[in-house]
Subunit: 515 residues, 2 copies
């Protein structure tokens, strides 16, 4: 069974004083990444998998993919044996898959605190927060454009979330900072306000290089040269298009041995066929081409099979989330990723709601459960996502983050040792008794059941007396408590200063740009 | 693939008039019960299953179960070869399991409208509403004791729910009707206000007999003699206790060939050990004894392997819902039920929240998804459950009922025919195009994706202009619309009159009792 390694950076010593200290200490426990002790849920049989894999090769062979504004990429493909006409790249059957074979099936992403290192691939599941929203929302001030102050708050909340293993990347877009300088402030926040692993910038190849350089300051040049310290998100312009900005960032990261998620970005019915099987086929073709390309840049570069999939509401054209078709695609794509021997990224606390209400929670829970059972190894957007990804919600961040604890416990599976079999307890209690006071219960109750840190289990009368608060109100209070008690993790002052200097110098070197 | 047989009792004729009629007609579409085209999720390996089955036999052999105040049951067990001391029944290994072998693996529960008949067992999943709450809640009037008027409203909402196959039983407790007469009004409502299948009374053996007699009026005596027309809920007093009231009702139903769910009622840590494996072992022992007993009453009586499982919050003693431990138990119990060849009842829209808010939705979605994937055949409490089962919520009823549509679509699995493979569409659109207008999309979009009838997919600005309604507000409007447009399904007036007369005569034959 995967052990939940709770690590409290505690004050030492035993006895009552230590217990009091423990109670008053700020919790910076972080659970170890999930190691599944349950099987994956698989919806495609062997024949269906072969049909999809065959069709994906047909797409690559007969239709091909476009590498846009990227002559070097076209050269690489030509040398590898592909048929290149203009920007269209067609590949002989099997070429892309054989290129993908050099990508590692698991890799370690290092954090500056080695206790926060994560293994990506195999049976592991690493949880990272929401990525990309231009807006934030909270109960106090409603919906508004995100700022760098919001960004820092979300990094702090992520650092303090017990069930979140990763600090993420663009937890919201700091729209008050120039577009060409945002990445610097974002990376600085991840590096200084948290000690969990993080993601690099992908909005320009030069910003990817800045990300690598800042990591060299944080980790040391040699360490970055030899280890993976960032996992970054490379979206494919589905259908079948690889643009130069994203590919440029991928090239920087692959050359530096840094990890990329190669991820079709699909709203089904718009960027892919309306059918599940058709979407899976296109996703596979795109990942084969994208991951194959990463290995042309550098053999052995760590990459993740990504699949960001939603469906479209054909009445309104709006993207929809937490839907059954998206679940089926996510289950199926997991099978395809495992057959390629690649780590798998998908799912998240997806929803289309404007508020962290029941709609948000139904859709998010559908998606989170499906993510765990489909064998996802890296789950971006695992908390905080609202309104189809337009909004980072403060309250929903802590609501989702609490639910992630449930995924940890579900992944443990069922222990079958003598203590778990509990035959002595059943004998002791017998017909008509109860288990509340029995020896087995006393010995096991603390660790037996997952317990929320947020939701309400109180009797109705108590709950009513305390203000009849709904989940949003409870979450609002928790957000405030977390931000009020946040304490920055220690960082060598010389490194902190060098990072500040790097950012200041970079910012001074170019005029602000807001496009 | 399981066909979704939507049956609209439509007005006939084609053309524009028919389409207008269709738009203005009251929707009484009901989807056919789910036939899974996806596998079950299984968490126990063969060795674990054998350990649990071995231990369950050990419980029955060495600890035994109590049949309370029921000399006839003790006689039946003695004759079958059990060791009976006082009220304790101990069974030689294998006895209970061999008795269970005569129970059918699937059966049909008939509805008065044959189109609403349900198959229970195998790959089917039948969805029924919340059962048992003494309170109701809505946005307009808050939380209050349930009345027969509320009961009738919930039967109407169930009748109008497209994704609900079953009218259920005690959709709420009509506390304004005498305890000894409630069952008559409840059955009358199910029989007259809906044409979906329903459940019988279990609160006294005499009330079970009344239920059978009312069914004889509704369906005809011969039909009831030869067919199953009720599925009723027999709870076991866990741990290991079978009381005379529930067993008395089971005896009436089994003798009449009517179906029973034999269901341990477990709050883990109180009525069963705090461990998942221990709870599964006790559940199995209890079901073996209860189902075995049903077959002693009448060989071949239809029964369902039930498992109502929640855990307890060890800090407050409150039951908790939608938790990972309950999910693991539900997955495991499904495997045990299938190895016995019995239909399986578990899961529901469980939650502990006081309001139909995010907590309610997270917990319910966790439980609904787990119910589908664990192979449940009969899901009671599939919609409307609130506050740990103390409350039937109007708004949550339609919220959950909408989510049940997602389960239908998920259960379809992945079609792999040429149309689903969509290779022509991928060719037609090519790199950089979009699928919105392509032929494949036009041909398939209406049926491709599940679509909510409740939740909000609108752009933020439109949603804000329309009042920025949360899910509760949307659900409140839907409840009102449903109740305003409800139309009673046709019933032979002579039968309706005979049912009224039966109820009037029964009520007149005894004084009111409120205990």
């Amino acid at each position: 069974m995967a052990e939940l390694e709770a690590r409290k950076r505690g004050r030492g010593a035993g006895g009552g004083a230590a217990r009091r200290a423990e109670r008053s200490a700020v919790s910076v426990e972080t659970a170890r990444y999930i190691e599944r002790n349950i099987p994956n849920f698989e919806v495609l049989n062997a024949e269906a998998l072969e049909v999809i894999e065959h069709n994906a090769e047909t797409i690559l062979e007969e239709i091909g993919v476009n590498f846009v504004n990227n002559p070097a990429a076209l050269d690489r493909w030509r040398e590898a044996g592909a048929d290149v006409h203009g920007e269209r790249v067609r590949m002989p059957r099997g070429l892309a898959r054989s290129l993908c074979a050099t990508a590692p099936s698991t890799f370690t992403q290092h954090a500056r605190n080695p206790e926060r290192n994560v293994e990506i691939g195999g049976k592991s599941l690493v949880l990272a927060p929401v990525y990309g929203p231009p807006f934030v929302h909270d109960l106090d001030k409603g919906r508004r454009y995100a700022t760098i102050a919001d960004f820092r708050n979300f990094v702090k909340l992520g650092y303090m979330s017990k069930w979140l293993h990763h600090s993420g990347g663009t937890v919201c877009e700091p729209t008050d900072v120039a577009v060409n300088k945002r990445h610097l402030d974002m990376l600085l926040a991840h590096m200084q306000l948290s000690d969990k692993p993080f993601m690099g910038s992908v909005t320009e190849p030069s910003r990817a290089r800045d990300s690598v350089e800042m990591c060299e300051i944080l980790f040391g040049k040699d360490f970055v040269h030899e280890n993976t310290v960032m996992t970054s998100l490379i979206n494919i312009n589905s259908p079948l298009t690889f643009d130069d900005v994203m590919m440029g960032a991928l090239e920087v990261y692959a050359e530096a041995g840094q990890a990329c998620i190669v991820s079709p970005f699909i709203v089904g019915g718009a960027m892919a066929p309306v059918s599940v099987a058709g979407t899976l086929t296109q996703v596979l073709a795109e990942v084969l081409a994208g991951v194959g390309y990463s290995q042309l840049v550098r053999k052995g570069a760590p990459v993740i099979f990504g699949a960001f999939v939603t469906s479209i509401d054909m009445n309104s054209g709006a993207p929809t989330f937490g839907t059954p078709e998206a679940s089926l695609i996510t289950y199926g794509a997991g099978q395809l990723a495992r057959r390629m021997g690649l780590p798998y990224r998908s799912a998240g606390a997806f929803n289309g709601s404007k508020l962290p209400d029941a709609q948000a929670a139904y859709e998010s829970a559908n998606s989170l459960n499906m993510g765990l059972l489909s064998g996802v190894n890296f789950m971006l957007h695992a908390c905080g996502w609202l309104e189809g990804g337009l909004v980072s919600s403060y309250e929903k961040f802590v609501m989702d983050a609490d639910q992630l604890g449930g995924l940890h416990h579900l992944a443990r599976g069922i222990a079958m040792d003598a203590n778990a079999q509990a035959m002595d307890a059943i004998r002791e209690v017998g017909p008509g008794g109860h288990y509340l006071g029995c020896a087995h219960t006393q010995a096991n109750f603390k660790s037996a059941f997952w317990r929320t840190d947020l939701l309400d289990y109180k009797p109705y009368e108590t709950w009513a007396e305390e203000g009849a608060r709904d989940t949003i109100a409870l979450a609002n209070a928790r957000v405030r408590r977390q931000l009020d008690t946040y304490q920055q993790p220690m960082l060598d002052p010389a490194i902190a200063e060098a990072l500040n200097a790097y950012v200041a110098q970079k910012k001074a070197s170019m005029p602000d740009s807001f496009t």
